[in-house]
Symmetry: C2
Amino acid sequence: MSIFTQMKKQRPLILVTNDDGITAPGIIALVSVMKTLGDVIVVAPDKPQSGMGHAITINSTLRLHKTKTHGVKEEYSCSGTPVDCVKFAVNKILKRKPDLCVSGINHGSNMSINVIYSGTMSAAVEGAIEGIPSIGFSLNNYSIDADFSAAKKIVKTIAEKVLKHGMPKDVCLNVNIPKLKFNEIAGIRICRQARANWVEELDERHDPSGKPYYWLTGKFVNFEINKKDTDVWAVENNFVSVVPTQFDMTAHKSIKEIEKSWAK
Amino acid sequence: MSIFTQMKKQRPLILVTNDDGITAPGIIALVSVMKTLGDVIVVAPDKPQSGMGHAITINSTLRLHKTKTHGVKEEYSCSGTPVDCVKFAVNKILKRKPDLCVSGINHGSNMSINVIYSGTMSAAVEGAIEGIPSIGFSLNNYSIDADFSAAKKIVKTIAEKVLKHGMPKDVCLNVNIPKLKFNEIAGIRICRQARANWVEELDERHDPSGKPYYWLTGKFVNFEINKKDTDVWAVENNFVSVVPTQFDMTAHKSIKEIEKSWAK
């Protein structure tokens, strides 16, 4: 299809990043799969960067360090955010545009509104901005001891599909994998982001001198229970959710509506 | 219109935040306008937070301090990001949902793809997630000595329109104001986010011990020159751009396309 980016014949060049940091089990699992599909370069944060959204580092300096964690040809830890890592890879490290950019596997899900808070997904979105077919992978299991064996099979299937078919222009994928054994997974569903919210609490505590400080904590509330075309429904019903995700945040339908309303 | 949030009869309650920090001239200008429209509460970062995107603070603690910078009933500086500030206001400080949440006035524009990197706009998007009519204001002037007098008139006009007509569900506004005198401004255009990129450079320098460090810097490249329905065209042609902005990042058109392609 003409709208899909054309695939190259040579061995794919694959950029791997994440937001849990370069030593997290999730990125180790992701690299191990990508090694079977192409030449891998890793540029990932030197420390956990969860919840960084699409943050970039403009008010301070950045450091880049060569590492030997993953046993690939080139790998670097970066002092910045996941988005900084993609910018470093594209603008400083890589000789050519990679054929695939993958981020994750995140320790915890990034369904629904979490796409906007997620460092994992922001790296994938940045890849799409750069014109690279990009995928963010998240496993619905927050444990450091999470079992990634089923996730690895899913990651391989989806990465192969993207390498074969390419990606629509200006789109990346948000993939969420349920916490299940491989044979318990019901299938893969292409779906949309559910409308859900965090109902936050600021957990107030007091420091040794009696002054208050706060932890941000919250409860996830899905306003679209039983909507079968959403990512939350898919994962809750044992499917892998795949949400095509884009960076045009324009509410196109509202342009005419607001014009009309304001003309009154 | 039924899709617009219903407006209250009482004096509006207005939440003000920004990403340049609570003492920036831009937020001082914004508060001075909002005081003429309603009861104002300020919750803003205690230091500059540009480029923070939709970051939230989940791996460290947050502090909140009462301040007396703006001469309003309640004002607080927060150690977190712009999104954290909105979460604090809604979940900890405000007794009721505000009628309006405004962010800015940013020192510098947030047109096009910058909506995704911008702390100013992320605060407005967070307001929309919380169901509050929300607006991010940016002036296309990066100077600390920027003249906000024309911007203040624009801000008042647009805030009054939103207070009167409400906002479509799940939508906020990204307003960019050209660096012009008021009588040079050609008007207000409701438009869409232009397709543009930062072509980045990593400016490499060396520390006193000879090790490299980097500054992220870049050139803004607009791929939609002369597209009159975009925000970049509007501001370059002396208009105020207003982009209705939403947080559903699903590429809806691509769902069927990918389903079809992957079925092959």
